[in-house]
């Protein structure tokens, strides 16, 4: 019961403090730009000499760039909105009035996690639908495996959210933000190294990429999402720098889910045992 009260108040906080609305406004600005770009690409490009199949794949690749952008926005929104929720409330003593109520600390943390998870679900659903709609209605391109892709992007956000919660129980807000974004940056670079390694057939680069995914599996989830949303033709054509040449396997998805659970358990453990 208390868990749901905290989840509800956390979600309400996001709405009331305009965090969610500001993030959605930023996403809407991006979608407007993306839709305009897609519109002119469709209208102005000299496609007359381009075969229909290639034209479709080019637009599909642009759509992929859109998904990449909202993935980045979703991860940033996840970190920026949740980075302060544990460490900030401890530092400001706001947590004292709540934690002294008849509520288990685990329920307090899980309630907050669920509140943010719900808010991020709304955000990802809206912005993903926005990009999907731009592709479908303006360019006539339908993304393959959209639902699976959206689910993977959401899982990526949950992994980042859980890491933010874990480090929020250990560090100050600023340190937490630096650590989580730093880890995501590491995963991002590692993902590129792995892709370059695949093209240049460098085992060392691929190993570095896999290692970075083990440290932080967020980027590998995006690459899997990108992979499942591309058609086979688009993958083989490599039209976009954001096309995925080396897709993480199902084992990596399983690893990310386990990573999330372990990080959540560690966050609960630290939060239960620390002074507030």
């Amino acid at each position: 019961m208390t868990l749901w009260i905290i989840a509800r108040v956390t979600f309400l906080e996001a709405a009331r403090r305009k965090i969610l609305w500001t993030a959605l406004l930023a996403a809407a600005a991006f979608l407007a730009l993306f839709a305009t770009g897609m519109h002119y690409q469709v209208r102005d490009a000299h496609f007359t000499r381009v075969p229909q199949v290639l034209r479709y794949q080019i637009l599909s690749s642009i759509l992929q760039i859109g998904f990449y952008a909202i993935d980045l926005l979703a991860v940033l929104m996840t970190v920026l909105t949740s980075v302060d929720t544990i460490s900030g409330e401890i530092a400001s003593s706001t947590i004292h009035a709540i934690a002294t109520k008849p509520i288990r600390r685990s329920h307090l943390l899980l309630g907050k996690w669920l509140g943010f998870a719900a808010m991020i679900a709304v955000y990802v659903a809206l912005v993903f639908s926005g990009v999907f709609s731009v592709g479908y209605f303006i360019a006539g391109v339908r993304s393959h495996g959209a639902l699976e892709g959206a689910s993977l992007i959401y899982l990526e956000c949950l992994v980042v959210l859980t890491a933010t919660f874990l480090f929020g129980t250990l560090f100050s807000t600023l340190t937490n933000g630096v650590v989580v974004l730093g880890m995501h940056g590491l995963a991002f670079i590692g993902g590129w190294l792995e892709q370059i390694g695949t093209v240049t057939q460098s085992d060392r680069l691929i190993t570095l990429g896999i290692l970075s995914s083990i440290i932080m599996p967020s980027e590998s989830l995006w690459r899997r999402a990108s992979y499942v949303m591309q058609s086979t033709t688009a993958r083989s054509l490599d039209l976009s720098p954001f096309a995925t040449r080396s897709a993480p396997s199902g084992i990596m998805i399983f690893y990310a889910a386990v990573y999330l659970l372990v990080a959540l358990c560690a966050a609960l453990h630290h939060f239960r045992n620390r002074d507030l």
Binding site: T2, I5, V9, E13, R16, R17, S92, S93, T94, H96, A97, I98, A99, T100, K101, P102, I103, R104, N273, R274, D275, L276
Partner: protein, 256 residues
């Protein structure tokens, strides 16, 4: 630590006959922290509803108690206003309401009158008295000793985490008593004779200030002075104020 905010390094404790780590026991406890912050995006009414729900009140109870407690702390007119716009005094009032809304058996109030104007301080005193009448025990933690003296039944002095003294403020008189005496012919042998009842004696001109541990000794001291030939013009016993007790027990200010 009793409220579960700080983990003990060792040992155990009970509160209301239950282990202090018990979550259930906190239904019977109210707490107003000193460094008092709340979700400032909530309205006063929403805040009380949230804290009431967390404390286990039913929706029906909340419907009655939220307006009643807003009224109690004088914030009824501001019930739909967000806390972001509240002054320090208003925050103290809403904080007091959230600590009491579930009618706890035990209430911890940490500096509840800091930031309040005289009217607000009086309101807090009245509320604490009402809690006492209701049968609740109120722990008032304060450095405003005049407030403590007016409000509390007993006081405990704590220094560096250890109880170093206590005093009953409304029970039978005890503790050190100062006696202010104006007299003439106070010879040295008289002063020496007083030592059997007093812990200290300081003579300045005609003014003698004695310290004694019990009111029972006062008639004997007065009889001794008169029978020894001293001319007594004034004999006024005075108990130590709480502030004097505090300074005496705590000793020198060590900048702590």
């Amino acid at each position: 630590m009793l409220l579960g905010l700080v983990k003990p390094s060792s040992g155990h404790a009970k509160i209301l006959d239950q282990p202090f780590s018990s979550v259930a026991v906190r239904r019977k406890i109210g707490f107003l922290p000193e460094d008092f912050r709340f979700y400032d995006w909530l309205t006063a009414s929403e805040l009380l509803t949230l804290h009431g729900r967390l404390s286990g009140l039913t929706p029906a109870q909340l419907r009655d108690r939220v307006p009643a407690f807003l009224d109690l702390v004088g914030l009824m007119a501001h019930r739909e206003r967000r806390l972001r716009g509240f002054s320090k005094g208003m925050m103290q009032r809403i904080g007091l309401a959230q600590a009491l809304i579930h009618e706890p058996e035990l209430v911890f109030l940490d500096e509840p009158t800091s930031g309040l104007d005289p009217m607000g301080r009086r309101l807090v005193r009245d509320i604490i008295r009402d809690q006492r009448k209701r049968g609740a025990t109120v722990f008032l933690n304060s450095h405003l000793l005049s407030e403590v003296e007016i409000t509390c039944d007993s006081v405990v002095f704590i220094k560096q985490g250890e109880v170093i003294g206590s005093r009953d403020l409304h029970g039978a008189p005890d503790g050190e008593i100062h006696v202010h005496i104006r007299a003439q012919n106070l010879r040295q042998e008289i002063l020496s004779g007083l030592a059997q009842w007093t812990t200290s004696a300081q003579l300045t001109g005609e003014i003698l200030i004695l310290s004694t541990s019990s009111m029972d000794t006062l008639p004997e001291i007065l009889r001794f002075l008169v029978s020894s030939g001293a001319d007594v013009f004034e004999f006024t016993p005075r108990r130590l104020s709480l502030e004097e007790s505090f300074l005496k027990i705590m000793g020198e200010d060590q900048g702590l």
